[in-house]
Amino acid sequence: MDNVDLKLFNKIEALNPDINTCMACGLCTATCTAGNFTDMSFRKIILMLQRGKDKEAIELVKKCMMCGKCMMICSRGINTRNILLSITRIYNEEQNI
Amino acid sequence: MIVEGKQKIWADYQKDIPDDHYFYVRSCIRQSFFPGSEVTFLDITRNKLGKDFYESAYHTTCGGIAYHSDSIPQETAMTIIARQFALMHESGYENYVCSCITSFGCYTETLETWHEFPELEAKIRQYLWDSCKKEFAKPKYLAHASDIIYKFRHEIAKQAKYKLVNAKTGEPLKVVEHIGCHYAKMFPSKGFGGAEYPHVLVGMIEAWGGEVVDYPERRQCCGFGFRQYFVQANRGYSLSNTYKKFESMEPYEPDLIITNCPGCPYFLDRWQYVIAEQTGKTYGKNGYGIPALTYEEVAGLVMGYNPWDLGLQMHQVAIEPLLDKMGIEYDPKAKYKGINGKDLGTPINPINIKLQ
């Protein structure tokens, strides 16, 4: 974890401070529409970004259909959809090797 | 680092072992890895310390490698071990010492299992009788060869010609100690100093003037885990283990690595060559590696044995920088001479790591 660069994650955190209140209960992943067809998991995306595994997280983010079910069900009231949107805006596919 | 904290732990894990009359059992691969070690051990204990270390020609090894690689069931290994005990019993000894760490692990495990399940011991007793008509008796004391050297480290220090000290600057050498996992990790109470900070090699280093290096990956495996190395697919895993250790000890710039197990010195030594070839990186100064020796070789060096008799030329990593540091005279040309002086041919230097 020492040489993990969280610069981009801190930007996401600034835009949506409630990302920190995620307690990884997995409701969002369970109800995910895309999760029905793929291994999409929003819970994992947050964790991967916190641990610097941006590439794998982006792979998952690309599968999201933005349907908002995760936001409807999140037990901590996190604005999941806007976090996903911010990720697609702030993170970059090629840039991080 | 609070040293008193460690001493308190070491105090909890002292074991008393007798100081004489041992039945010595060799390792199955140590002669081929570093032939000088076991010979030096017997020479030191018998001639230098005048102890009675009997070695029976009929003894085999513990079968641990096969047991740990799942090629033989535990009962077979136990029967082999029972036969060893029978040989000890027949030659009239009660104290049993083995030279290999894994064997020490197997013997301890067998004795502990028998202790918990006496009916298993009776079964093995039956197996032994059926197979080779021998009766065995459990050893009164079980020790590892490094325990012996540890116990007599001060006598060795007294007879020592050299110290683990840099002859020119007088500073103690920075020595990394690596304990074989089967020594105390399985049965902490069976090793000097417990599992976390075993004292058996630390004791030697401090007795002979060196300074112990305590790096983060101190307890990481050396890479010779049976399932890592013997299974072809996992070999890369074995190399990455060793690499992780060296990366972690690098900032401390150690001069020497002392080990007490057959596999550890071999892998810490050989893999340095592979790491140098793959990454072009050596951990010693100007192209040399960090010599990885067994405790018997270090004891021999300290007591003034000729390095080539100790078989130090068998090591991948050149020993010359260490010898110069300790101020030991040696004849560089005699490095690759046979006993009768015949030239065995000098191997060429690998690209990234020097042999001489």
Binding site: N20, M23, L47, R51 | Y197, D214, Y215
Partner: protein, 344 residues
């Protein structure tokens, strides 16, 4: 006239509260405390979870409730013999009591962190325990804590761990950890604070809000994974290893300060007393109660009662509630088969 008394062994919150309630019930308890002052562990704490109220005020409240109750400080029990319903007790300073009932409130000891060798308590400089951190909050002089940039809290040290023979959960360390995490983040706002947990057991009133507040306002990062070992790198910083089990990947991290949340063990001080009264421990090593539901304050031995953390790990509210229950049990016991004269 040798008036029969009720002996309260242990002057911590449990002992004080039981004595106070017995006093209210018109009985005449006496508190035996082996240290030189009352309060037990509570005296060491600075603030209490979940809302960081000051421990001092609670301690003072409990203390001054017992101001006119007979107390014997620096006193240990040297001998107890039972004769019919009466216990003849002699203290280490020679004083003798005839007690109609004994209430054991010996409380708990914190798990000795050095027993968990792999965490390197007592071996590495910057590894401290929750008690030491609490003491730091009180006194602010602990040279090991100076401007740490990265702080780690290890939960369940000495609890839920068969390798140290404590398989039970100590109940209070999760809430304490988050409380202390918020307090230390308050102290060093630029530090990153990590909590390494298995399950965050925030079960009590206001605990979940503490958890949410810790995440939201104090940016405490909770990692689900138990720290397996700690070592020291060349600069003296701590390198910890753990697996982020939610992600299934191992992780290594350098910390400036590591706080071990030590769990509770039954206080050793009650062992000889238990021998004298032949009361044994349950498999968790705490004093065995008559049953797990209604007999939590009773033991097998008639006339011997228990209260507080000596029977199982307890939070302060539990302890106080149980102390009151114990007082009631003693009162009923004395009314039924104790000395009627004792009870007005």
């Amino acid at each position: 006239m040798n008036e029969y008394r009720i002996l309260i062994i242990g002057g911590g919150p449990a002992g004080m509260e039981t004595a106070y309630q017995l006093k209210n019930l018109g009985l005449n308890p006496v508190i035996i405390e082996r240290n030189d002052k009352l309060g037990g562990h509570l005296a060491q704490w600075d603030r209490l979870f979940p809302s960081s109220d000051s421990a001092e005020t609670l301690l003072e409240k409990l203390k001054d409730q017992t101001k006119d109750i007979e107390k014997k400080l620096n006193a240990k029990i040297s001998n107890i013999t039972k004769e019919g319903n009466i216990f003849h007790v002699t203290l280490s300073n020679g004083i003798k009591y005839d007690a109609a009932a004994i209430v054991i409130c010996t409380g708990f000891d914190l798990f000795k962190a050095e027993k968990k060798q792999e965490y390197g308590y007592g071996i590495y400089n910057n590894v401290i325990t929750n008690a030491e951190l609490e003491d730091y909050f009180k006194t602010h002089n602990d040279k090991r804590i100076d401007e740490p940039k990265r702080i780690g809290f290890v939960h369940c040290v000495g609890s839920r761990d068969v390798k140290v023979n404590n398989t039970y959960c100590s109940k209070v360390c999760c809430a304490t950890a988050l409380k202390q995490a918020c307090e230390i983040k308050d102290e060093f706002p630029y530090a990153d604070v990590y909590c390494f947990y298995m399950d965050l057991r925030m079960f009590g009133k206001g605990y979940e809000d503490l958890y949410l507040k810790a995440q939201k306002d104090f940016d405490i990062k909770c990692v689900r994974g138990r720290v397996c070992e700690v070592s020291e790198n060349i600069e003296g910083k701590l390198v910890i290893k753990a697996e982020d089990t939610l992600l299934g990947t191992p992780m290594k991290m350098t910390l400036d300060l590591l706080v071990l949340m030590c769990g509770m063990e039954k206080s050793k001080s009650s062992n000889e007393i238990q021998k004298m009264l032949n009361i044994n421990n349950n498999e968790d090593g705490f004093i065995e109660t008559r049953d797990n539901f209604s007999g939590l304050n009773l033991t097998k031995e008639k006339g011997v009662f228990v209260a507080g953390a000596c029977t199982s790990p307890k939070t302060l509210p539990d302890t106080i509630a149980e102390a009151r229950a114990a007082a009631m049990e003693v009162f009923n016991y004395l009314k039924v088969n104790g000395q009627p004269s004792l009870v007005q």
